[in-house]
Symmetry: D2
Subunit: 350 residues, 4 copies
Amino acid sequence: MPGQDFRSDNVSGAHPAVLEALVAANQGPAAAYGDDAWTDRLARRLAEIFEREVTVLPVATGTGANALALAAVTPPWGYIFCHSGAHIAVAECGAPELMTGGAHLMTLPGAAGKITPGAVEGAIFREGDVHANQPAAISISQATEIGTVYRAAEIAALAEAARRHGMALHVDGARFANALVSIGASPAELTWRAGVDLLSFGATKNGCLGAEAIVLFPSDRTAGVAKELTYRRKRGGHLLSKGRFLSAQLEAYLANDLWLANARHANAMARRLAEGLQRAIGVAAHEPVESNQVFIALGDVVAAKLRAAGFLFHAWPGIGAGGVRLVTSFDSTEAEVDALAATAEVAAGR
Amino acid sequence: MPGQDFRSDNVSGAHPAVLEALVAANQGPAAAYGDDAWTDRLARRLAEIFEREVTVLPVATGTGANALALAAVTPPWGYIFCHSGAHIAVAECGAPELMTGGAHLMTLPGAAGKITPGAVEGAIFREGDVHANQPAAISISQATEIGTVYRAAEIAALAEAARRHGMALHVDGARFANALVSIGASPAELTWRAGVDLLSFGATKNGCLGAEAIVLFPSDRTAGVAKELTYRRKRGGHLLSKGRFLSAQLEAYLANDLWLANARHANAMARRLAEGLQRAIGVAAHEPVESNQVFIALGDVVAAKLRAAGFLFHAWPGIGAGGVRLVTSFDSTEAEVDALAATAEVAAGR
Amino acid sequence: MPGQDFRSDNVSGAHPAVLEALVAANQGPAAAYGDDAWTDRLARRLAEIFEREVTVLPVATGTGANALALAAVTPPWGYIFCHSGAHIAVAECGAPELMTGGAHLMTLPGAAGKITPGAVEGAIFREGDVHANQPAAISISQATEIGTVYRAAEIAALAEAARRHGMALHVDGARFANALVSIGASPAELTWRAGVDLLSFGATKNGCLGAEAIVLFPSDRTAGVAKELTYRRKRGGHLLSKGRFLSAQLEAYLANDLWLANARHANAMARRLAEGLQRAIGVAAHEPVESNQVFIALGDVVAAKLRAAGFLFHAWPGIGAGGVRLVTSFDSTEAEVDALAATAEVAAGR
Amino acid sequence: MPGQDFRSDNVSGAHPAVLEALVAANQGPAAAYGDDAWTDRLARRLAEIFEREVTVLPVATGTGANALALAAVTPPWGYIFCHSGAHIAVAECGAPELMTGGAHLMTLPGAAGKITPGAVEGAIFREGDVHANQPAAISISQATEIGTVYRAAEIAALAEAARRHGMALHVDGARFANALVSIGASPAELTWRAGVDLLSFGATKNGCLGAEAIVLFPSDRTAGVAKELTYRRKRGGHLLSKGRFLSAQLEAYLANDLWLANARHANAMARRLAEGLQRAIGVAAHEPVESNQVFIALGDVVAAKLRAAGFLFHAWPGIGAGGVRLVTSFDSTEAEVDALAATAEVAAGR
């Protein structure tokens, strides 16, 4: 029987190559706290991938990566501008507020899960006035929380707005690989070349057990940030002692472009699922399916029957009756997505 | 050539059984964020081990476990009393201060790495007076940072002092297994039966890749703490999405008493090392070798020659000329410790 | 020449009776930190005014009062629901976030400067779910930031919503006296009888030099809060050593119902100003003038000419062309408000 | 009957000239939040007093001044080195920890209430190592908590140590005037010329109602600090709306050298008291009486009889039997101090 769990890409396990790398890394002693060969190689590999010098800090969770990265560029009295559906705003229980010492997330509406320079600048008020929090950072999710993908030009426009107000630009890249392959952009194009200062480089959802990396693109704007981040990471409890096991995951993830292959597959499965559902029940996805998530209004009857048949997924408010989110993964199979579409077709009585 | 790295038990990799458990856990989808079968089984296993109901929150680092556990029982204006050499005070870059919102660690001297009720109560001042921080928690390391082990009666006496001042008692059990097997006490005897409220249950140093658990022993004193801890863990970025991979490590660690066997071996290697060094250079360890750490004044010449021969270890101030810490692990071998002793003997010219 | 400053009620000085009380309080030594006769009498007086036992903590600023009061009932992972124009959200530079340890202000739109139970409950999501902040407090401004006044029934409805979700209800009463006299309600009716847990009792704007009080209405919901607040106040630097000079201000403010008389006068001046402007330029105030603030779209020409004539006031966005806020005070005079209206009439060319 | 209250200089009221200034400041409207003529004049006056440009931020409490000043130069992972008896360490309920976001106060012993460069540097460990907090600031009390006074050379030596480790030097000047007149030094000599970066300029204890000022001496080391402090002050609830009433106090305090005259008087009264007690009971003060505090071991009998006779003072541990602190003030009289000495003489049965 195929898997029926479409709740999130984090219900998947790890890619076998990643597990093999863990086993392979278990050879003899290695210096603790990231002072190891795996971490060195990881940093070099990421520099290669991003086509420039980068600062890399592996951590075990995306929430940790986001909160630490934002704290590095946001004073306690800062504003962080993000989409109203941003993971940092709705699904991290205030981690950015903890790590920044109480900064405020200013959430903005925006079509297709994206924020715009206009929305950000329209929300800025009392700049330079001590009575109000001050602009400090813009944070975007790539892919977005609704499955779309920011283009380089969109990011560059946000970066320009950030510069105008002395802000840093952060990308929550929990699904960064899915975004990259979706539009065929290079890692550099979607980050520092477009003005991104910090990236939470996600890997857990796309094949690791639990491994992410804060990637800092050093510049005049972020002088001192790299060193500060090392203290923040330790202080946050996010510096793993046997660090090789984080870096080994990430190394395997990046080797042979496994990360891109995994993302391509997950994206393809999402498109196949969306197309299958459209054929099956005549309903299009709520947004263009640009990554590995399908948001769709199944209708209450179909949604209920799918659940009864054992399919697992999260209800999604605000996109119509029987609105749900369906997430595919690097290990989703055609049989699995086809089974869901077929069951939906029966449920719809077509 | 045998391993020569005695810097810490965290330079070791993972026990093969733990890695096998990771591989075995990589089967199909599983609910994220700890709502999985591995985590359920882990909680039941720890309840069995501790002979009572416990609340279990797996996390990836000991610093995370300590800081979150302390935050759960310490208001921002609290005092946490600990030994001046406590890991929380000297090696966590202020993690407890971050997670508590600014509590103060009041460090105390104490023989054999231990604090006493007298030292704690002697340091309490202005109790109930708004001008001063207020007693909130006592935290001890078990085994201690100097390799000794608190007996149940010592812990009970600290717990009584804690009760007299409305404080909780926390144990940093980074080397909890080493302490247990050292004195042949049961987990219950060294924790809740002696009055411990929260334990950072360490596993990383003794055979896992990166897995610890906050173990809360619910009582009237800790009502509400269990629920709060779940928010604090998430907010701290310490709730892993693919939680099965944390719990699977811990499950394998506890299965077949692997944890105790590992600790017994590491302790035996430390004793063998201490005895070997005493024979080799005529110097006894600085403290009784009750766990897997040997603190010893090698003399500057011997220390230098050992380093020159490739042995790795940390210098340790305050215990005499050429003072060093030598840490053994679950995978240390007799050949390795004998090699160090033999090299020391040559170095000493005996 | 009459005063021309309508920027805020805090541009006024102090009422002479308040200054006289300061001078009178300067007699001999008095115990520091609020352990004085003035503070004792103040607590008794406020208990009388509120017709029940209350806990009173004088502080020097409204921002301090708000942030400390909210911190006392909001964990670091809490949500505080408030109007999008709330002083705590737009004019305190993140003070609540500082004092709570990083809680999130969830701002809500609402007509007439008010929030409703429906708006609050509509914004609650993921209740009990560790991934999201949790409902902790509702905070309302009384009078509101747009000059209107919550009725007892409106407050009671918010209190019920608060109870349903385990939240406390806080009132930012920077202009509490203005609200009271506006609708002829008693202090009890607009606070604890309607379900309010904590009040920032404002006095600075209405005749003091710098004196506010956190008033806590103890209940089962707020057990322990009174004691905690004393530590929070000290820790926040808000416990004045020569506390008599805070309490003496407040005592004089409350004596002979000076506070109510001052508020009645300020409110009357605001109404007179609004009526005068309506006659003068044919424009009604943007909201009913229920306290001592007039929000009105003067038109750009009139606004500019008034400024040119020396009148001072703040522009107010979102209420039309030439939108401004005009604030009257306990010491505003009929001549002053009439002069503004007369100048507006000339400016409007009527 | 003369006053009998020697508990602290903060049991005194305000100097009449300060109250007169408050009354005089109560004339018409003035811009709020420190944008007023009084505050401008205060800044100019302090620049004159310190013989250089300074940044001045008035606040209402010394705890607020200390915590904000330290927060401006200390990251959350910083160490603040101070004497074990420092007010910031024992009498502010963790205010520095709150405002810094969790920095650690590293307390040091030291003769005569002073810390030395050697003590500070001896306590620094793991500099640059992410596992430990990092040196950020040295804070000294002037006059010290035991009534002595740091000389310029002592301060300069601490400043050099601070520079060597990238730290700022802060002075808690709650009794700064008392220190100045004690040794006849100029304000510049005891601050920036000796390398001080920030001063909590106390005035409350020496004649104000409640007014202090953070004085920053801008330099390369403190670039950006002045602006940050304005946000921190607001966010801490320490920016008073009717700011003229803070600045007017300070202006009067500084006018005609009232502050120095007050301090000279208080110091003289302390010396007279110490001399009187030595004659009366044959016991010398515990430390040289260099400011307005006398620490003395009265013996239990004399202490008890003085209390029975109505004298008020705090017991002081660690200085011998019947150890007490006796504090004089700007308004202490010869009759008052002589009465205490005379009563002690009778109590001692001499």
